[in-house]
C-alpha cells in the first residue's frame, strides 16, 4: 500500500511536469484537439453513412459496429493518455538518457511507460466518455448491471493487453534503438479492432485474436455489452491477456539485460 501511494505521488509529479510542458504550446494543444476530434467524427460519419446504405456488416448491425468503434476509442485513448512515454524511448536509448532512469530508485518500466502522460488525449477523452455513455444507453436494449460490470471488467482486460504491447514495443526500442515504426505498427494493428473481428478472413482473424491479440483487446468488451460473448470466449480472453502480460514482463527483463548504454 505504501509503495502504491509512493508511485501515485511520483506519477502525479510526472503528470504535473508534462502538463506544464504540453500547455506551454497552446496552439499545439488546440491543433491536436481539432485533429483528434476530426478523426473521431469522420470515422463516425462514415459509419452513419454506411447505416443508410447497407444492412449489416459481418452479421452486426451498424449500430452494433459503432459500439466496437467506441470501445476501441476508449482503450486507445486511455493507453495513449498513460503510456505516451514509450513513443520517446528511442531518443533516450540512443542518447544514453536511459542510464539516469536506471540509476534512480523508481521502477524503470514504470518510468518508461507512464513517465510522460499525454494531456492532449485527456481533452478529447472527457466529451468522448459522455458521448459513449449516451450512445450505449440509447443503442443497447436491456442493459443490466451485470453486463455493465462485465463490460468494465473486460475493458480492464483489454487495457492489460494494451500495456503488454507497449512493453513489447519498449523492449524492441531498447534492443534495436528504433521504435517509431514498431509503435505505429502496434497502432495500425490495434486499429483493426475498430471493426468486429468477423470482417477479417482467416488466418488473419486467428492471428489478431490469438497471436497478436489486438482483436481480443477491443472485440471482447464490445461483444460482452452486446450479449454476444459465450463464457468460453471470456475465459480464453482472460487467459490470453494474462499470458501476454506475463510474457511482456519477461521480455522486458531480457531487454534490460541487453541494454549496453553504448551512447552515454
Amino acid at each position: 500500500m505504501k509503495t502504491l501511494l509512493r508511485y501515485i505521488k511520483i506519477w502525479l509529479l510526472f503528470a504535473k511536469q508534462e502538463l506544464l510542458f504540453q500547455f506551454s504550446s497552446k496552439s499545439s494543444i488546440i491543433l491536436f484537439f481539432i485533429g483528434k476530434t476530426v478523426r473521431f467524427l469522420s470515422f463516425l460519419l462514415i459509419l452513419i453513412l454506411l447505416k443508410h446504405n447497407t444492412k449489416t456488416m459481418a452479421g452486426y448491425s451498424i449500430d452494433e459496429v459503432i459500439i466496437f468503434f467506441l470501445t476501441f476509442n476508449f482503450i486507445d485513448l486511455v493507453s495513449q493518455m498513460f503510456m505516451r512515454g514509450v513513443y520517446s524511448l528511442t531518443g533516450k536509448v540512443r542518447s544514453g538518457e536511459l542510464d539516469f532512469y536506471l540509476a534512480k530508485p523508481v521502477n524503470v518500466l514504470f518510468r518508461v511507460l507512464a513517465g510522460s502522460p499525454d494531456f492532449n488525449d485527456v481533452l478529447i477523452f472527457i466529451p468522448f466518455l459522455f458521448f459513449s455513455a449516451w450512445y450505449i444507453g440509447q443503442a443497447v436494449p436491456l442493459l443490466d448491471a451485470v453486463r455493465i460490470v462485465l463490460y468494465l471488467a473486460f475493458l480492464v482486460n483489454g487495457l492489460l493487453i494494451s500495456v503488454a504491447f507497449h512493453i513489447f514495443v519498449a523492449c524492441i526500442g531498447i534492443i534495436t534503438t528504433e521504435v517509431d515504426n514498431t509503435i505505429m505498427l502496434y497502432r495500425e494493428l490495434s486499429q483493426m479492432g475498430r471493426m468486429p473481428m468477423e470482417i477479417y478472413r482467416e488466418p488473419l482473424r486467428f492471428l489478431i485474436t490469438f497471436v497478436v491479440p489486438v482483436g481480443l483487446m477491443v472485440s471482447i468488451p464490445a461483444r460482452v455489452l452486446l450479449g454476444k460473448a459465450p463464457p468460453s470466449l471470456l475465459l480464453t480472453a482472460s487467459l490470453v491477456a494474462f499470458t501476454v502480460f506475463l510474457l511482456s514482463l519477461l521480455s522486458w527483463k531480457h531487454a534490460l539485460k541487453m541494454y549496453t548504454s553504448a551512447s552515454s
Binding site: S25, I29, F32, L49, T54, D180, L185, E188
Partner: protein, 273 residues
C-alpha cells in the same frame, strides 16, 4: 559546357537519391515494420468493404468488384504520392544542421525531392510483391485502361499530386524556422488527408455538397482524382478540370513553400550549433 554542368548536377542528385535508398535499410526492423503497416492499412480497407458487400450487391452506387478495384488502385497511387522523407526538414532547421546544407553547392528543395524520389521507388519496389499477394487474396477486378491516353493522363495527375504533396510537406517542415511545434499541424494535416484524399474509400460516397466543397481543396487530387482517371470513370471535362485544379494547387503550394523558405532563411540563426 552547359550540358556538362547539367549532367554534373543530375549526378549529384542521383547520388543523394542513392544514399536515401540505402538509408532506408539502416534500421532493418523499422523498415520491415513500415512495410507491414502499409499492408495492414490496405487489408483493413479491403476487408471492411468486402464485409459490407457480403450483405448487399450495391452500396453508394458501387458494386463489390468496382469498390475493391478502386481501393486497390487508390492504394497503389497512394504508395507513390504520399511516400516522403521531408518529415526531417523541421528538425534540420531546429538543430542548426541546416547550416551544413547552406554551405554546400546544393539546392535545398532538389535535395529533398531527390530523397522523396528514392523513397517512392523503394515503396513501389517493395509493394509489388505485397500487392501481388493481396491481389490473389481479394481478387479485385484488374482494370486495364482502354485508351493509351488514360495512362498519360494518369501519369500527369500522379506527377501533379506528387509535386503538390512534396510542397505541402516542405511547408510543414519549413515551419521549423518559426516554431519547434511542427508535429501538431502535421498531425492535423495527415488526419484530414486520411478522410479526404480517397485512400480508404472513394470520396463520391459522401453527399454531393461535401464532394463539391472538397473539389476546391487540394485533398481529392492526391489519390481520388488520379485513381478515377486511371479507372476511366471521369468525363473529359472532369479530367480537364481536375488536371487544372491539380496544377493550380501544385503551383500555389510551390509558391507558398518558396516564400516560406526565402522569409525563413532571413530569420535563421543557426541555433543549436
Amino acid at each position: 559546357m552547359g550540358n556538362k554542368l547539367l549532367l554534373n548536377s543530375l549526378k549529384k542528385y542521383w547520388v543523394i537519391a542513392k544514399i536515401t535508398w540505402m538509408n532506408g535499410f539502416t534500421y532493418i526492423t523499422s523498415f520491415v515494420m513500415w512495410r507491414v503497416r502499409q499492408i495492414i492499412q490496405m487489408i483493413v480497407a479491403l476487408s471492411l468493404w468486402e464485409s459490407i458487400f457480403a450483405s448487399t450487391t450495391t452500396a453508394f452506387g458501387y458494386t463489390s468488384a468496382r469498390m475493391l478495384t478502386y481501393i486497390f488502385a487508390a492504394n497503389i497511387i497512394g504508395f507513390i504520392v504520399t511516400s516522403s522523407r521531408t518529415i526531417g526538414v523541421s528538425s534540420i532547421i531546429h538543430s542548426g544542421d541546416l547550416s551544413l546544407y547552406l554551405v554546400k553547392p546544393l539546392n535545398f528543395f532538389l535535395y529533398w525531392f531527390s530523397g522523396d524520389i528514392a523513397d517512392k521507388l523503394q515503396n513501389i519496389a517493395f509493394s509489388l510483391t505485397e500487392l501481388t499477394v493481396l491481389f490473389f487474396i481479394f481478387h479485385p477486378t484488374l482494370y486495364i485502361p482502354t485508351h493509351i491516353a488514360t495512362l498519360f493522363l494518369t501519369l500527369l495527375a500522379v506527377s501533379g499530386a506528387t509535386v503538390m504533396y512534396f510542397f505541402i510537406n516542405m511547408m510543414f517542415g519549413l515551419l521549423g524556422f518559426w516554431t519547434p511545434d511542427v508535429w501538431a499541424p502535421r498531425f492535423l494535416f495527415f488526419t484530414v488527408i486520411f478522410f479526404t484524399s480517397g485512400s480508404f474509400f472513394p470520396l463520391d460516397i459522401f453527399p454531393k455538397i461535401i464532394v463539391d466543397i472538397l473539389s476546391y481543396t487540394p485533398f481529392p487530387y492526391m489519390m481520388f482524382f488520379p485513381t478515377k482517371v486511371l479507372l476511366e470513370q471521369l468525363s473529359s471535362i472532369e479530367i480537364v478540370r481536375g488536371l487544372l485544379f491539380t496544377g493550380a494547387w501544385a503551383t500555389l503550394c510551390g509558391l507558398g513553400a518558396f516564400t516560406m523558405w526565402s522569409r525563413g532563411i532571413r530569420t535563421y540563426e543557426a541555433e543549436g550549433r
